[in-house]
């Protein structure tokens, strides 16, 4: 198969970028999207042109490293998959394919299609954990957790932290990411002691980092490779409201 690529090239954060045209020639239909780019890159290297920089690691949809917007869709067409799980047979022979980086003020471009998502790490650092000093834990079965709750927590915990939600959101909002962690930990009995401070600190850090707010378009849910439900955002809103009231009451004495 052959494709015409329009690829965003940008030397670094401080220079302007632009689209460049490339031809992807003789691509096997069984190749993955990233393997197609590998082939294009090998061709570029052979022609003494700098290869296109893009992130990937596991190449099986779990590490969350790959991060392309293909034809205007974060992780490309198709439900519940990452860019590395996208295969060329999905495209038409001869098709023009637009490839852009995840775009958000909070995800500055590092080079070409690579963005800096450390903002997500900072949000987790602000409270996305349960403090449990190593070695101090009680027996694992001392706290039974109903299967329904445990399963729901797992659904939220499945987030791979790729950032597609913020990339797809017209407001570059990180709410789905934050909601997933808040719900995962907030649903579990172990997560209760820090529930108030967790949501407060994570949301305020999210705001400070320059993510937008949620206007309930659900673009995030549509592209999420882990199929995290946007209803977790509602849970986040509720948790945040409750935490704010608690905070207010505590401040008044």
């Amino acid at each position: 198969m052959n494709f015409k690529l329009k690829v965003w090239r940008q030397q670094n954060e401080n220079t302007a970028g632009q689209f460049r045209d490339y031809e992807a020639i003789n691509i096997p239909a069984e190749a993955s999207f990233l393997e197609m780019l590998d082939i294009v890159n090998e061709g570029l290297i052979a022609r003494q042109e700098e290869p296109i920089a893009f992130d990937s690691d596991c190449r099986e949809g779990i590490c969350g490293m790959c991060s392309l917007v293909v034809n205007g869709i974060a992780h490309g067409p198709g439900k519940a998959k990452t860019t590395c799980q996208l295969y060329m047979r999905r495209f038409q022979d001869g098709e023009t394919i637009w490839i852009e980086p995840f775009r958000a003020a909070a995800f500055p471009i590092v080079k070409d299609l690579i963005v800096d998502r450390s903002a997500f790490d900072r949000i987790i650092q602000a409270g996305g954990y349960i403090t449990a000093r190593t070695g101090s834990a009680p027996d694992a079965n001392s706290i039974p957790i109903g299967k329904t709750v445990a399963d729901l927590a797992m659904e939220a915990a499945a987030c791979i932290g790729c950032g597609a939600c913020a990339a797809a959101c017209p407001n570059s909002s990180a709410m789905l990411f934050v909601a997933a962690k808040i719900s995962h930990l907030g649903l579990l009995p172990q997560g209760q002691p820090e529930r108030t401070s967790r949501v407060r600190n994570m949301v305020r850090t999210m705001d400070a980092l320059g993510f937008g707010s949620c206007t309930n378009h659900y673009e995030c849910e549509a592209v999420c490779p882990a199929e995290i439900s946007a209803t977790f955002i509602s849970r986040l809103n509720r948790d945040y409201a409750v935490a704010s009231i608690r905070e207010g009451l505590a401040a008044r004495g």
């Binding site: 852009e100 909002s173 549509a222 209803t231």
Partner: protein, 240 residues
Amino acid sequence: MPSATASPTQTKRGSSNPFIAFCQSSIGKKIIVGVTGVYLIVFITGHLLGNLEIYLGQDHVNAYAQFLQGLGPILWLERAILIAAVVIHIVVTIQLAAENRAARPQKYAHYNYQAAKPSSRTMIYSGLLVLCFVIYHLLQFTFMTTNPEYRHLEDHLHRHDVYRMMILGFQQPIISLFYAAAIFFLAAHLSHGFSSVVQTLGINNQKVSGFVSNGGRWFSWLIFAGYVSIPVSILIGLIK
């Protein structure tokens, strides 16, 4: 030397006053928009029910109008809250919209929407159009600036003849069309706004979400049907 990721304690955390911090936070602002939105929904629903009295005849409508006028300070309080709600609703959404724009400084060359509906993407426009209409609407029927002749309409009990005023107003096809268009935008605003507010106020969950979004659509088109039925009935002569 390679740089370590900064720890979040170094990033700004907002005000130490819990209330201000809440109002400055994205979710806090959303909740404010939501609460004022709910208030506005309640208002337009009540307003619709009042308007629908037109089907019960001149007497009913005018009595209702007089009853409202008779509330005096309570009416003014209600109006003040309404105005405040509208102002807050608008100011905060505009703030949010500005922040959201700043969050995506560089647009995609090609964006392909997967889930967003026209109604959700045009909230600010549908809202502003509704606002324009509301202003005209107030000028027409409340302050009667556009149509000073309405001031002198009186029924046989010497009450202000709101019934006639509505009929006179809507007998002009242009006015009716404009009214219907505005209500259309209101319905569009609500068809997203209704389910959106359920989500924003933290009531949504996986079990009810389908119901809520369908319910929102039904609700807003019912509102549309209710409001628009009045000029239509007047134009086709059902109400004279």
